[in-house]
Amino acid sequence: MASMKEIKRRRAAIQNTAQITKAMKLVATVKLQKARAKAEASKPYFTIMYQTISSMLEKSENINHRYLRKNEDGKVGILVITGNRGLAGGYNNAVSRQVISGFESKDTLIYSVGKKGRDALLHKGFEVEGDFSEIVEEPLYKDAADITKVMLDDYESGKLSEIYVIYTNFKNTVVHDPVLLKLLPLSKEDLLQPETKENEGPRALMNYSPNEDEVLDAIIPKYISSVIYGGLMQSVASENGARMTAMDSATSNAEELIDKLGLQYNRARQGAITQELTEIVAGANAIE
């Protein structure tokens, strides 16, 4: 059995850790509440954007727009949204794992938001084309628009053949899953998921001013920005949710360990006292 001193030291160390994890949990909880409110607030914009664009594509059978055509050559561009910091359970890992299993490193260019995902993918031999990690703490719509511009420029120059985004969807505090979405080329099949279809009542024929092409030119980048912005918001909320859950279980594990060590310590102390008593008694017997 370990000595009393050792147990005491270990217990103190774990107590310190528990204090830290508890503090981190509290911080994550507060951040989560903020992030969640923001994610909620960004939803209407995204939803309406999505409806508009899918109803536009629905009706325009034969638009031959540059954002709807597939670039023949070029690599696949993926925007990978993770966190800058670890200690958030499987949050960062789940995203990078999905990228690694779904894409070939030689045909892929990574655009990263979040150091953790970037580093994991670099390690696996992926090429990182752009890094926007500094924005992840507090993403603004402007940041999403800037990322969109960089990626669209690369798409138009033929460097990219397709654009994907992967982010973590925030269902609730405990459940969040990585989601991979195809942004470009846009096609009806990718867009029209059953959940959005219900809204498609008989709508009158839409007029586009000045014309379809120019409206698409203006709307598609905005659509992409809004998806990226929504993804950033969801990811930030998920990161804090994941961290909160992870730190919560770390704290309760630490507490369990502290209890166990307390018991061990008391036992060791009791043992030491008993031994001392036995020794005294034995000593006294020897003198007699």
Binding site: K38, A41, S42, P44, Y45, I48, M49, T52, M56, Y141, A144, A145, R203, A204, L205, M206, N207, Y208, S209, P210, E214, V215, A218, I219, K222, S225, S226, Y229
Partner: protein, 133 residues
């Protein structure tokens, strides 16, 4: 007068939601004023003044910077990158932005002209709207 449901949505919040009798704004094609029962239309918004005519005859003026508008029979939805009420505009900041953009444009070298021009337009719209109060 007939009214319609007007919604102005920014990426991070709903800016305005309510009934209106007419809404005026600038598109890439010029200024438009939309009443109820307009034909369905999607148009691209250019930076400019947005005026909401409410049912009770009052008007609200805002600065609207880029986005697009979806007009349906009984509703108008404006998806705005950013939008602000005329009385909330920080005039000194807009003036500074205007001067900064003008300076950049006059230097002409090593600057993103398109970006500076957009910044100048935004600043001018802000000043214009704030002055029209």
């Amino acid at each position: 007068m007939d009214k319609f449901a007007l919604k102005i949505i920014c990426p991070d919040h709903i800016f305005y939601e309510g009934d209106a009798t007419m809404v005026e704004f600038t598109t890439t094609e010029g200024n438009v004023g939309i009443f109820a029962k307009h034909i369905p239309m999607v148009s691209v918004v250019a930076p400019g003044k947005l005026t909401i005519h409410c049912e009770d005859g009052s008007e609200k003026t805002c600065a609207l910077h880029s986005g697009f508008a979806e007009v349906l029979q009984d509703s108008v939805t404006i998806m705005a990158d950013s939008c602000e009420y005329s009385d909330r505009i920080d005039i000194t900041r807009a003036k500074e932005a205007k001067e900064r953009a003008q300076k950049r444009l006059s230097e002409r070298e090593g600057v993103d002209i398109a970006r500076a021009e957009m910044a100048l337009r935004r600043a001018l719209v802000r000043l214009d709207v704030a002055g029209h109060k």
